[in-house]
Each structure stands twice: as C-alpha cells, then as structure tokens.
Symmetry: C2
Subunit: 441 residues, 2 copies
C-alpha cells in the first residue's frame, strides 16, 4: 500500500511490542490505583481553540497549530493541547451542570509540544494526571489525598526509587510577609532559580529586587531547609529563623500533614524541601515535585499542587489540587536503558500444528485455552516441531502445546526448562505469573 | 487558571464520566479478546510526514496539517494520521528487523479527519484495528483468523446485533475475467455503487464501460447473491450463472472458509454478500463490512480485508489482512441514545465520616478495602449521614460504610435496598458484579 520511509522522527517516541508491554503494565497499574481511590476516567479531545491554549499566562511553549489541508481560510483556530490541565478546566466549566463535585478525575493521554527535542523532552508524550476539583471551596484534606494516591501509584511502578519533594506556597509567602516583604511572588520566582543559579547570584538578584542583606539571607536560609539532608523537624527549623506570620503557621501545618500522609512506601521517599516553589503563578498552597533515583537529570517526573482557581465561569470558581505524572518522560529513558518485558506477544502458549490438514484441531485447542483466559496463538505453519519451538522462543512464549497425534495424547512443554508432560486443553492452566508478559529482570 | 469557554466543538465528541465507563468497558473487552488471540499492542505517533499521508492513492480526505506556532518557515511537514493502517505500514518497514513475522498487532488510537462533521462522522475518533502481516507470504488461514477474532470481539460488546458481510475480490475478479472482461477493477468500482445508485443506472454505467447487455446483467446478478435473503449455498448460486475461471473457484473456496469460521455467536450474523467490493484498490482477496442493527444508516462500523502489499521497502513485500472497528462511530450514537453505566465514579463504597476529627478512621477503613481491590472513596465532609447517603446516591455508589462510633460497630448499607448490616473492613467484600461500573439496563 505504501513504500514507507524508514526515517524516525525526533521527539516522537514509539515502542517495540515488548517495550509497549512495559508501558501497558505501567498504565494499567496507574489506572488500578486511581480507580481504587475513586478517581473517574475522562478523556478530552486533542485540540483546543487557540485562544484557550494561549490564555494561560505561563505559556511561551511551542504549540502545534492545525490547518485543514484543503482549507482556504488559513488556520482552523485549533491547536493540539500541551497539557491536560487546560482541557480539564474547560471540561469542568462545559459540564459543570452534569458533574458531581467534588469531582475526582484521572486522565491519561498524549500531549504535544513543538519544542526542540532533548533528553527527557518530547514533542509527543503521555501524561497521567489526577485532580480533585470542587465548586467554590475544596477542603485541605484533598491535598493530603492526592499526595497519598500518587505516592501509592509511584510505589507500585516498575521504576527506580523516587523522592517526592513537597513544599507549600503559604510557608514561603507567609515567611516573606513576616520578613516585611510586599511582593512574595517575585521573591518566589527568584528563589526558584536556585536549581540552576549559584546561591550568591540568587542573593544578588534578591538584592536587586529590593531586599536588604538580612532579608535575602533569611530567604536563602529558608530555601535551604529540607528533611533530606537536614532535620526531620522542618517546622522547628523554620521557626528558629525567627519569622512570624499566620500564613506561615498555616502553611507549616498543612505541609506537615501532607508529608505524614504521603509517607508509607519504602521506594517513595517523601521529603519536605523548601526550595521547591514551582515557577507557575497559579499554585496557592501545597506544591509537589518528584525525582527518580539515577535519573535526576530528567528533572521532575511528577509535579503539581493546589490552585485555588482551576477554572472560573464568572459565576462560580472551581478550586483544585492535582499531580501530573510524566509517563513518557520516565519510561522512555528507562526503556532506552533496557527496561523491557519477557515477550513480544501476549501469548502464553503456542499451539503447534502437526500438519495443515489438522490445523483445525490446533484451533480447537487454542479455543479451549482461551475460554479459560489463557492467551495463545496457533503456529503459522506446520514446520517440524523443532522450528515451531524456535518460533515460540523468539517471541518469548513460555509454553508449546503438542496436539494429540498418532504418537500419543496432548503434551505441553515449558520451553524454558524443557519439561514436557501430558495435559488436557480443557483443564491445564499455566502458573498465574506466566499468563501475562512480565518485566524482564 | 482559565475562564473556559462553554462552546462545544462539533465533530470532537467527549464523554461524561458515566459514559466514559461504557467506552472503557468496550476498549477493555476488545483488548482482552485481541490479547487472548495473541495480538500485541502497539501505538504509533499521532503524526506522519505529509508525503506518507498523501501517498496512499485513495485519499482525498481532509487532513489536519501541523504548524509550530512560532515557526517562521511554514508547515512542519507533518499531519495528523487519518487511519491506523498508513502508520502501521510505516512502523512495519521501520522496525522490520526487530519484529517477528507473521506479526499480529492490535492498535487502539484516535485518528483525525478534517471532514465536515455529520451523523456518525467525526473529526476525532477512536479506531481499534487488528492486522496480521507477514514477510513475502501470508497464508490464507490468517484471513480466517482475523474474521474469527473480530466476530468474537463484536459478540462480546454491549451493542446491538451486528451483521458481518463478507465477500472476496477473487470471486468478483475471476467472474469478470470468466466473462471475458479485461478491466475487472473498473467493473468492481462501478458495481460498488449499487449501495447508492439504482440497478438500472449501474447497468447503464457498465454499458458505458464497454460491457454488452449479457455481461452487465451477469455482473449485476452476481452482485445480487447474498446469504441473507438468498440461498445458503452461495457458491452453487454463483456457479448457476455459468461462468468459469480458476480465480473464481479459488475465491469461492476462500469465502466459504471465512464464512464458516466466523459464524458462531448468535449476535453476529455472518453473511456472504457479493455486492461488497470495498472501493479501495488495494484489497486483493477477502473483504469485510459490518452493519449494526437499528443503526444501518451509520454505514459499515467495522471493515477490512486482505491486501497482498500492506507495505514494501523495495526489497521485501509485506502482505497483510486486517479489520478496523470504528469505536467512536458505534459508541457515540449508542451513548446519545442512552447507553450509559450505573455510576459516575469507579467507587463501590463511600466510607462515611462521623466528624472531621475522626476522618483518619474513615481513611483507614478505605485503605483496608482498597488493599482487597475494592474501589472506594471517603466522604468529602462530615455532613449528617442522610446527606452522605445522598452523596453516594447521586454518584451511583451502591454501598455506604458507617465507621464504628459511639453507637455501635462498623455497618455497611446497600443504599439500593436499604439493607444495613455489621461488617468487618478487613473481610467484607461486595458481590463481584458491584465491584465495577456496569452497563445500565
């Protein structure tokens, strides 16, 4: 039908079947955890009107704009969504009358950005978002809940250990106000640069923004507090800096609750890190970032927080709290480093074919196995059994079934061990661990 | 974050959570059946180079072309894929060295067309494709297999009865050659219009194409043969027309095998219909179309066939056989007509909260239930129990759990029946049918 080009497109990752199994395992596990916690799935269309996509302040991101090939009047006024938050906000407003609030939703979809591809950055990638949104008011315990859900999900994924870094905008804002500063957002955005800029330079930038030496040092001391290297009692450490403000107290209390609730799994280290501010201006309380051990250079693989105005339709305001997991961002590098599954097909059994005249007998055996939920396939041709076994081997199929023939009854062979024994297609079942593809150690 | 517009975009369907559950049930069932038959999942990127998309002969379809917002040099040379066959052909060539042939794959993804939206036609929609592709040669028994797999899948979906209409290009081609016609493809394309054009007009078009009256009548008689209204023995009916050709005999034999194999489920009526030719020029044998009872005006919801050249890289040819199911095409109208699920959330249980001070007790109950795979959520606020029950009711959650309190031990209430009884959060399990959302009768 087409003589396809063999050039791969940079920034648009695609997986081989055995790698796709890994992605399926990850997406299934995310879905399982999200649904156990009562999060409902939604999908939104891939496109949004350009004015929606450009409305959100933070975006100097490269978007893909759409044009119909035969259109005469220019662009369609539509672009591909670059995250799942803007479409979700639009969906909430559009369906507000039909949704039950508070509304827990998860959304696992691809998003697109026209950025220059680089390590861990793609033009097409999959995100998995959870958000809880309410009408007018969203109690704080939902911040605790999303942290717990995402920590629970991370702990179940076949990935390296992670560190979830949490902070709270109220801590920073209250601290800055307590210091007598009047523009906390500007200070936050400067302090947020500590990741990339040396401390002394940040000090200089704070001075330029009007802070005196003592204020700047206090801000940097606050940013230096974290429970990874420092004391477990972060609130005590903050209070030792001698700054007081009711917003600071409220933030410390919230932060403590989120930290305590998210802790649990050994593989997810939950740390308070007051350098985490998230540059975006819409966060108003809890903020999250997450690093993966050995892959710190990817930056945060899972980020989010509380925003008091996820959406507004003029009459109602919809506050939300959510976290977004970068599925492609973490999986593509892990798969490039060898993470894969033990099969290129879902089949647990290859049913051999004695000769083409008895292919139907093999089909019936396969049918019997499938009726008991055992994935299987029938050999493509009636080659000699040695070749059929190699056919299974190349695909990672663990069992080969030999139909009843002149020489004897049904036999099944575990081709990994060579063990072969009589079996009944209406009764035999492989061990549960062999039923589906598994992560290859 | 954004003051979202409430205007819905024509041709881009979106579902409410309770409707999305239906779509999830359908997609899960498709995946289950495809994997039971050994089909491996792949996903391809949403975009293809424009020259790939335009290469395929049949396409005068409207595509979406992409442009990076800040690009200065015009289009990115990329468009959104309009089906899953062109990307699959490209994927096969690109990864030929790493795939095991014959390669069974399923692919469930969205595709985009810039067409004017109309009943059953969308600009964004989900397709579920299965294909089997081989290198150089693909034995005929794979035609039988894809028909069986898709008939099996259709039978398990929560949709009206379907009629799978099958035909075979070799029957038509052999018959036309046996009649002495030299350009079978042209005849096929004229006969294919019988759906929309009266028989007499088609007769006239055949005459214009150079057929004599007897030849034209024979072609129309052939097209009139089907096992829905006519004889079960379609091969006999064809032979009664007195035309002979080895290709015709080969086609009739293949068609009989596919028909016999696909039959099985009561809800999928498999009929031979020799009017089905599929307009596309790349089919070379078996062809399929499928109608859904009561929704015939949608046209075919599931189509495909055999193509001897799915892809070619100059050295190797990759023949294939496959069928594509229009998931959105069938689901959107069914959902518009009321097909939905019994819940707007995955939760089977709402754990009530006695007062905010004991929310943690409710969280622990939820944790115990989840550890045994029971989806649940904790009430948003400690309202009086009557209000918490209505909270569950509005979401379709069947059970409300009342934590141990001053008045007694743990109690669970089936709010559909009003039945309430003591229960242990570490042991109680709802009936399996209540664990997940179900189709609402």
């Amino acid at each position: 039908m087409s003589k396809a080009s063999t050039s791969k497109l940079s920034g648009f990752p695609e997986f081989l079947p055995s790698e796709r199994h890994v992605e399926q395992l990850v997406l299934d596990e995310l879905r399982r955890v999200f649904e156990l916690h009562g999060f409902a799935s939604i999908e939104t269309r891939a496109v949004e009107p350009m004015d929606q996509l450009l409305r959100k302040g933070e975006i100097d991101k490269e978007l893909y704009v759409l044009r119909r090939l035969h259109a005469t009047e220019g662009d369609a006024g539509l672009g591909l969504h670059f995250d799942l938050t803007v479409p979700f906000a639009r969906y909430v407003i559009e369906n507000a009358g039909k949704l039950q609030f508070p509304f827990r939703r998860y959304q696992i979809q691809k998003v697109w950005r026209g950025e220059r591809p680089q390590h861990g950055r793609f033009r097409e990638f999959t995100q998995a978002d959870i958000d809880i949104v309410a009408k007018d008011e969203l109690p704080f315990h939902f911040d605790v809940e999303v942290a717990q859900v995402m920590a629970d999900a991370l702990a179940r994924l076949p990935i390296p250990d992670t560190t979830m870094q949490i902070s709270n905008r109220k801590v920073l804002e209250g601290f800055y106000l307590g210091l007598g500063l009047t523009d906390p957002l500007t200070v936050m955005q400067i302090v947020d640069k500590l990741d990339k800029v040396p401390r002394d330079d940040v000090h200089g930038m704070l001075a330029e923004a009007g802070l005196n030496d003592e204020q700047a040092r206090a801000c940097l001391d606050l940013a230096g507090i974290n429970t990874a290297d420092g004391p477990h009692d972060f609130a005590g450490a903050v209070r030792e800096l001698g700054v007081h403000h009711p917003t600071l107290d409220a933030g410390l209390d919230e932060l403590e609750q989120v930290r305590d609730a998210a802790q649990g799994a050994d593989s997810v280290d939950v740390v308070v890190d007051l350098r985490i501010a998230r540059g975006l201006d819409y966060y108003t309380g809890t903020v999250f970032e997450t690093r993966m051990r050995g892959y710190e250079q990817l930056g945060s693989i899972c980020s989010g927080g509380r925003y008091d105005t996820l959406a507004s339709d003029g009459r109602n305001t919809y506050p939300g709290v959510g976290i977004s997991l970068g599925v492609s961002r973490l999986l593509v590098p892990l798969i490039a480093d060898g993470l894969t599954s033990d099969r290129s097909v879902p089949s647990a059994v290859l049913v051999a074919v004695v000769d083409e005249a008895t292919r139907d007998q093999s089909n019936k055996i396969a049918h019997a196995l499938r009726s008991r939920d055992i994935p299987c396939e029938v050999a493509a041709s009636a080659q000699r059994f040695g070749k059929q076994i190699r056919y299974a081997e190349r695909r990672g199929i663990p069992y080969v079934w030999f139909p009843e023939s002149g020489e004897g009854g049904h036999q099944v062979k575990d081709i990994r061990t060579g063990e072969q024994y009589p079996a009944d297609p209406h009764a035999w079942t492989p061990p549960a661990t062999d039923l589906r593809p598994r992560i290859k150690e």
